[in-house]
């Protein structure tokens, strides 16, 4: 079935339809023949049988009534009428039994009943005739009772036979009617089944070979279009984002570049200042060295002052000794003046004056000595302080030397830094150029994605048209 092409499948469905039609026609022919045969059987056998059995029953009723009349009314002529009716009953039943095509059971029953009624008829004539002639003796009454029972039995059997034959006829006619109805419905069912089968094949053919594949293709293309639409929308979005980001990036790079230039300028300025600091440090070192030398000279001067002070002290000692000896001399002169009396009075005054001068000289020498000692102490303190200052200057000098070294290092680092920053500036310039190209590329990408989206929309419209053609509803 799957290997056949569409044309073959459609022809197959038409063939199935024609085959079903022919089949249903043939079946109705066959069943019509059966129905005709059944109708013939009913009209030729059962219908006359039912009719004759009814006649037999009616004649039997008449016969019984005539016998009754004979007995009850004591009417001898009624016996003859009863005999005639009885003969009619027997004849009708024999006619039923001899109908060809009747069921064997029914024929036998009718024949048996005919014989039984014939026998009963003979007995009845005898018995009822005797009752007419000789009155109702006890034995006669017994026979009549027996006959009454037989009559009832025969009547029941006859009624049964008539009912059975009528039922057979009714059954046959009902069966015929049912068969006819069944035949009609069967023909209709076969026709409908054929129609449904053919329709089903056509439907399946169209669905599997035309609609199905088209629907599958539509589904696939629709999915692809949806996917492409999503992807292009996403791409457009990404392109726009990339473009925006690149523009922002370019702005950042410009800012970074400007900052780098500022940093570069600062770095150069730092390098210059570091060089200047180096020079200043050199000058400070020289100044400190000069100060150190001045301190050395100061120390030497202080030593000289100290030595001069010690010389002054020796002189003062000599002056003190002179004053002491002068005082002793004055005392001696006073003693000599006292011994010399009046003559010596004037001399004693001079001697006193000399002695006070000696005293004053001794005091002055003593005062000068203490001043010189103080001065010597101050000088040695100054020498010590000058030593301290010298050591401090030495430390300052070494610190300045270290500072000079550090400043030199700073200057060289600043130079290196300036060079590195220059490199960075070049790199950033390149990045800026690349970013500009990225911006234009992203813009182009977004434009391309937009074009793709519009193409996808066109594809969807075409798909909707195709879906309408194959009877699908667009989602």
């Amino acid at each position: 079935m799957r290997r056949l092409n569409i044309t073959a499948k459609i022809w197959l469905s038409v063939g199935v339809f024609i085959l079903g039609y022919v089949l249903s026609t043939a079946l109705s022919q066959i069943q019509g023949a059966e129905a005709r045969a059944s109708l013939r059987a009913a009209s030729e056998a059962l219908f006359p049988a039912a009719q004759r059995s009814q006649e037999a029953e009616a004649a039997f009723e008449r016969m019984v009534k005539s016998f009754g009349d004979a007995v009850v009314m004591q009417d001898a002529s009624a016996l003859d009428r009863a005999a005639e009716d009885g003969q009619q009953v027997v004849a009708a039943l024999r006619a039923v039994a001899s109908i060809p095509g009747l069921a064997p059971g029914r024929s036998q029953a009718a024949g048996g009943l005919a014989a039984s009624i014939e026998r009963m008829l003979a007995d009845a004539r005898t018995t009822y005739g005797a009752s007419l002639a000789g009155g109702l003796s006890a034995s006669s009454q017994d026979r009549m009772r027996a006959l009454a029972a037989r009559t009832d039995e025969a009547k029941a059997a006859l009624s049964r036979t008539k009912d059975q034959l009528a039922a057979d006829l009714h059954l046959q006619l009902s069966a015929l009617e049912e068969s006819s109805a069944r035949q009609e419905s069967f023909g209709l069912a076969v026709f409908a089944a054929t129609l449904i089968l053919a329709g089903l094949i056509v439907h399946l053919t169209i669905r599997r070979s035309i609609t199905g594949p088209v629907v599958r293709v539509i589904g696939g293309v629709q999915d692809a279009a949806n996917e492409a639409a999503r992807a292009s929308a996403q791409t457009a979005q990404s392109g726009r984002e990339v473009s925006n980001n690149a523009q922002e990036q370019a702005a950042c790079i410009e800012e970074t570049s400007a900052s780098l230039e500022e940093i570069s300028a600062s770095t150069r300025q730092n390098a210059d200042r570091a060089g200047e600091a180096d020079r200043l440090m050199q000058a400070a070192r020289q100044t400190v060295e000069r100060a150190a030398r001045a301190m050395n000279e100061l120390t030497a001067s202080m030593d000289l002052i100290s030595k001069s002070s010690r010389h002054v002290a020796g002189v003062l000692k000599d002056i003190d000794e002179i004053a002491f000896h002068t005082n002793i001399l004055a005392l001696n002169a006073a003693v000599e003046a006292a011994r010399a009396g009046q003559a010596g009075a004037g001399f004693s005054v001079v001697a006193d004056e000399v002695r006070s001068l000696a005293h004053r000289a001794a005091e002055a020498a003593c005062n000068s000595g203490s001043i010189i000692e103080r001065t010597a102490g101050d000088v040695s303190k100054g020498v010590e302080l000058a030593g301290h200052a010298h050591a401090a200057f030495q430390e300052v000098s070494s610190t300045i030397a270290s500072g000079t070294q550090v400043v030199s290092q700073i200057a060289s680092s600043s130079d290196e830094q300036a060079r590195a920053i220059a490199h960075i500036g070049q790199a950033i310039a390149r990045i800026e150029a690349l970013t500009q190209r990225n911006v234009s590329n992203a813009q182009q990408m977004a434009d391309g994605a937009s074009a793709m989206t519009s193409q996808t929309d066109n594809t969807r419209r075409y798909l909707d048209d195709l879906m309408a053609v194959v009877g699908m509803r667009s989602e």
């Binding site: 016998f67 009754g68 007995v71 009850v72 009314m73 004591q74 109702l136 006890a138 009454q141 009549m144 009772r145 027996a146 006959l147 009454a148 029972a149 009832d152």
Partner: protein, 141 residues
């Protein structure tokens, strides 16, 4: 014309009264084994038309008739509402259909009394003057 009709009817009634006995001249008798001492007219009719084979007290009954005669005529007319020939036809139809046998029919009162006296359940009728030795007389209500 009207006078003639009245005359004829009166004559007929007079003749009938002269030749037939009345209910007062009939006694209904029964075998002493029957417990009841009275019987209703309907029951009596049922017994003689063979539609009843027992009385209301449960005792089995069998009718006994007299042959033609004023007592019989009077009984049939008074209690059964029929003529003798109609009653005979009725009995024959019962016999023909096998429903019953002809009831016992006896010639005179004495025979009836004798039969009733010796037959259990027998019910008969005799003239009021007849001797009823050995049987019991039933009052008809």
């Amino acid at each position: 014309m009207k006078h003639l009709q009245i005359f004829l009817i009166a004559t007929a009634v007079g003749i009938c009264a002269a030749v037939t006995a009345s209910a007062a001249d009939i006694k209904v008798i029964a075998n002493p084994n029957i417990g009841a001492s009275s019987v209703s007219a309907d029951e009596l009719k049922g017994v003689f038309l063979v539609t009843k084979s027992s009385l209301s007290d449960g005792s089995h009954v069998e009718p006994v008739l007299e042959k033609d005669g004023p007592v019989h005529e009077a009984f049939v007319k008074e209690y059964l509402g029929k003529t003798d020939s109609a009653l005979q036809t009725y009995y024959r139809s019962l016999v023909f259909t096998g429903k019953a046998a002809m009831p016992k029919t006896l010639a005179a009162d004495a025979e009836v009394v004798a039969y009733v006296a010796k037959t259990k359940g027998a019910v008969g009728y005799v003239s009021a003057a007849a001797s009823t030795a050995g049987v019991k007389t039933l009052e008809v209500r």
